[in-house]
Amino acid sequence: MRAIKSGKMLAAVFAAVFLIGGAGSVWAQAKTKVNVYTALEADQIKAYKDAFEKSYPDVEMAITRDSTGIVTAKLLAEKNNPQADVVWGVAATSLLVLDGEGMLEPYAPKGLDAVKPFFRDPRNPPYWVGMDVWAATLCFNTIEAAKKNIPKPESWEDLTKPVYKGQIVMPNPASSGTGFLDVSSWLQMMGDQKGWAFMDALHQNIGVYTHSGSKPCNLAASGEYVIGISFEYRASANKVKGAPIDLIFPKEGLGYDMEATAIIKGAKNMDGAKKLADWSVTKEANELYAKNFAVVALPGVGKPLEFVPADLEKRLVKNDFAWAAANREKILAEWNKRYNAKSEPKS
């Protein structure tokens, strides 16, 4: 009898679970769905999605959002049977990786002509089109700096001074796109030899290398370290939340990457994908980007943001994405050899 009872209970559990499951998977199928893979921030997505769906009421965005590394790995792993129709708001360097695998569909969105030239793949039609730029930025914790009597750095070169020993955090270029952006821009900006010499010196001051591009700024914001090498969006977001940090834009120039859009070859909803690509270059979309980023694809739309200098675009170094992509493995191997293989620096 006991057994019967427990059997009934089990059946009830199963039934309950089925009901929940069933209710969860009922979906209204009125609109066509476009599968979007993105690394945009969640709070940005909400506004963009609403605006897009207003312009195209027949298309619904089904969004898979994750950090750049995960999204890229996922896209590559799905290569044989792509699930994404469109990649949207993913680093241009990642799109180059996908392009290298022949996964992108060239497409010239309506209104492409208005886009600043360096915001698009030079081929015609372009395989990807940029949306906005995020640039290397230092997060400088003023409270901890004052406690430790540490001066505010002005330049990349300043970071190699002994006073910053153990106080700096930067993303590991082997795990983070932002980290790689930093390294590749230094090499392009300073040249090979000086670039590595700079990193050798910087390495002496690094407290820890992190596995995400946001983390250094977060660590500076919470006072774990004084300086985090990160990017301006994360820096502003942390400052808005109340972190005692200053944003520093080193005077030699800023490495950057681009959030960009591309259509996946063989997209199941090609029509929807094209609509999103079209919308991504509209003025409306660019005005939304401009709320978060100072430098956007359409000229004249960008406007100064709090904490960010108005001339940010001029401070960007020349970043040759193709060069960076082609030399990625070599650079990472060298970086790994110099800094990863070395035992922990004693501070």
Partner: protein, 563 residues
């Protein structure tokens, strides 16, 4: 005597044998499809070039030529060994206190000991930074040492692996024969001698299982070292760097293959120990009832209380963190961190998805795991199938979640695979989660089954009762405590898991645990702690409900345990 076995009986019994074979075949097949084939899909990439051409072991050669690889291997072994020694020793004493003493508050202590299971792996990371970081509340306890590094990893892994060790060890220690103890006492054996000659041998299988589980968990986990590892390079982080940082699946497959070695060892050791294991709980056994002993009970209580306190401090720190406006500069209390809909990661919808996924995982997973363990241990049909179940059951533990997730993409997203319909559904999240946590659940079931009289099945068969009836009427009720433990384990693990499902979720199946990860990454540490605590509260509540709901049933069906 009358000749009772008539023709109709024969047909039903042939059917019985057929059912056993079919069940074994089905389970073995299920494990092949969900464990072996996906892993093959991934690991075979380790032998291919980027373009997909077969290159033999070139990737391995290239990998081992990378500077610093040796250090990562050594670090991994050191940290895994250290975690194993620390976790298993502490867990053994704790489990000993729970099962072999009359110390007070056992229920509470056990609940706290298992509490780390309720928390996503990021939570100890966050809490340890709040406690021991540069701004940490208890920073002075570090004596100038950094939490970012081996110390942090060790603490995090100990917290993370502790419940698994407790689960296995309490199961192993709880079923013990009073008569053996009485015999030893009557022979005038000292307490230490009884411990050495009765307690330890009885728990040996559990102890070895616990060591392998903890070692493998610690060596494959990348969640803790990623947050708090600092400079300390380990292999699991290397997988992360290769796969997520560089999208180099070939090298990722190479490192994954290396991380599988412990599982192979574990299986070898498992089958070695298995030959020596004797059943401890025969029908003639008398359930062990520890006698009160003030000195022993007092010491054990103090020890367990200190461990429990340490666990609670970690959880409470995270709970506190979720209410603080901006650590450490604005310590105002604030509820806004629980407003998930405006944060990264899918909001409250993700939270409900997680609950749905966890319910499915617990319901289906418990049934499959226990039946699989039963058939592989107790049936005598279809030996090859049982061997396959046993082997494949211990593999998943050694597969880092990240690797499992990728393997699932390669295998289930293959257009040629008829199972590709499962891709991007709730079902694949449930399957991957069951597989991811299969080993600990399986070992718990096996440990419980091994402690039963091996003749139960033979007795049932000799009485003309089909195996599935004996399974239902005897095996399941006798193993009910272990079964409940397994279902809870699967539920809470499903609530917290990140690394595999992060590759597999779809827009409408976003999960709370992934939200934690993404919020933390975006610097929303307090909201991340808040969502992590929502997971903890939910799992704790379900645990409580489960306990209340099954208490009556358990009390009745376990009445025989008492005297």
């Amino acid at each position: 005597m009358s000749a009772v076995a008539a023709a109709p009986a024969r047909r039903s019994l042939d059917r019985e044998a057929w059912i056993a074979r079919a069940a074994i075949a089905a389970l073995a097949l299920a494990l092949i499809v969900t464990v072996a084939l996906p892993l093959y899909a991934l690991l075979s990439r380790g032998l291919e070039s980027k373009a997909g051409a077969f290159v033999g072991f070139a990737n391995y050669a290239a990998y081992f030529a990378t500077p610093g690889v040796g250090r990562a291997v050594v670090n991994s072994l050191v940290i895994a060994l250290a975690s194993t020694v620390v976790t298993v020793s502490v867990a053994f004493v704790f489990a000993y206190g729970l099962t072999r003493s009359r110390m007070p508050y056992k229920g509470v202590l056990k609940a706290v000991a298992l509490a780390p299971l309720l928390a996503p792996s990021l939570l100890p990371g966050i809490a340890l930074v709040y406690l021991f970081g540069k701004q940490g509340l208890l920073k002075s306890l570090m004596f100038g040492q950094e939490i970012y590094g081996p110390i942090g990893i060790l603490l995090g892994e100990a917290f993370y692996c502790f419940p698994a060790a407790i689960l296995i060890l309490t199961t192993a220690l709880s079923l013990s024969d009073q008569r053996l103890h009485d015999a030893a006492v009557s022979l005038g054996a000292s307490r230490w001698r009884i411990f050495r000659t009765v307690t330890l041998p009885g728990a040996r299988y559990g102890l070895i299982s616990a060591c392998f589980v903890v070692f493998t968990l610690a060596i494959t986990d990348f969640g803790v070292p990623k947050v708090i590892g600092g400079w300390y390079d380990v292999l699991a982080i290397d997988v992360y760097k290769r796969v997520v940082g560089q999208q180099d699946f070939q090298k990722g497959a190479v490192v994954s293959a290396l991380l599988l070695l412990p599982a192979v060892l574990a299986f070898t050791a498992d089958s070695f120990v298995r030959r020596r294991q004797v059943a401890l709980l025969s029908a003639r056994s008398v359930a062990f009832m520890p006698r009160p002993e003030r000195m022993r009970d007092g010491l054990l209580f103090v020890f367990c209380a200190v461990v429990a306190l340490a666990i609670l401090i970690v959880l409470l720190t995270a709970a506190g963190a979720s209410f603080v406006k901006f650590w450490p500069y604005n310590l105002e209390l604030w509820l806004g961190h629980y407003d998930f809909d405006n944060k990264d990661g899918g909001g409250w919808r993700a939270y409900y998805n997680s609950i749905e996924m966890a319910l499915w995982t617990a319901a289906c997973g418990t049934a499959i795991v226990f039946l699989g363990a039963y058939l592989s241990e107790k049936s005598n049909r279809f030996a090859a199938g049982r061997m396959a179940i046993r082997l494949l059951a211990v593999v998943p533990m050694a597969v880092p979640g990240l690797v499992l997730g990728l393997a699932y993409i390669f295998f289930f997203n293959d257009p040629a695979n008829p199972l590709s319909v499962l891709y991007r559904t709730m079902a694949i999240l449930v399957i991957s989660t069951i597989v991811h946590f299969y080993t600990v659940a399986h070992l718990t079931a096996v440990t419980a089954l091994k402690q039963m009289d091996p003749e139960f099945e033979a007795a049932g068969a000799s009485l003309g009762v089909p195996w599935y009836t004996t399974f239902r009427r005897v095996t399941v009720p006798v193993a009910m405590p272990a079964i409940l433990d397994i279902s809870i384990y699967l539920f809470v693990s499903a609530m917290t898991t990140v690394s595999a499902v992060v590759f597999l979720y779809a827009p409408d199946t976003a999960l709370a645990s992934i939200a934690v990860l993404n919020m933390d990454d975006a610097g929303d540490i307090a909201p991340a702690a808040a969502m992590a605590m929502m997971i903890v509260y939910t799992s704790a509540a379900v645990r409580l409900l489960h306990w209340l709901g099954t208490r009556g049933l358990a009390r009745r069906s376990q009445a025989w345990r008492g005297r």
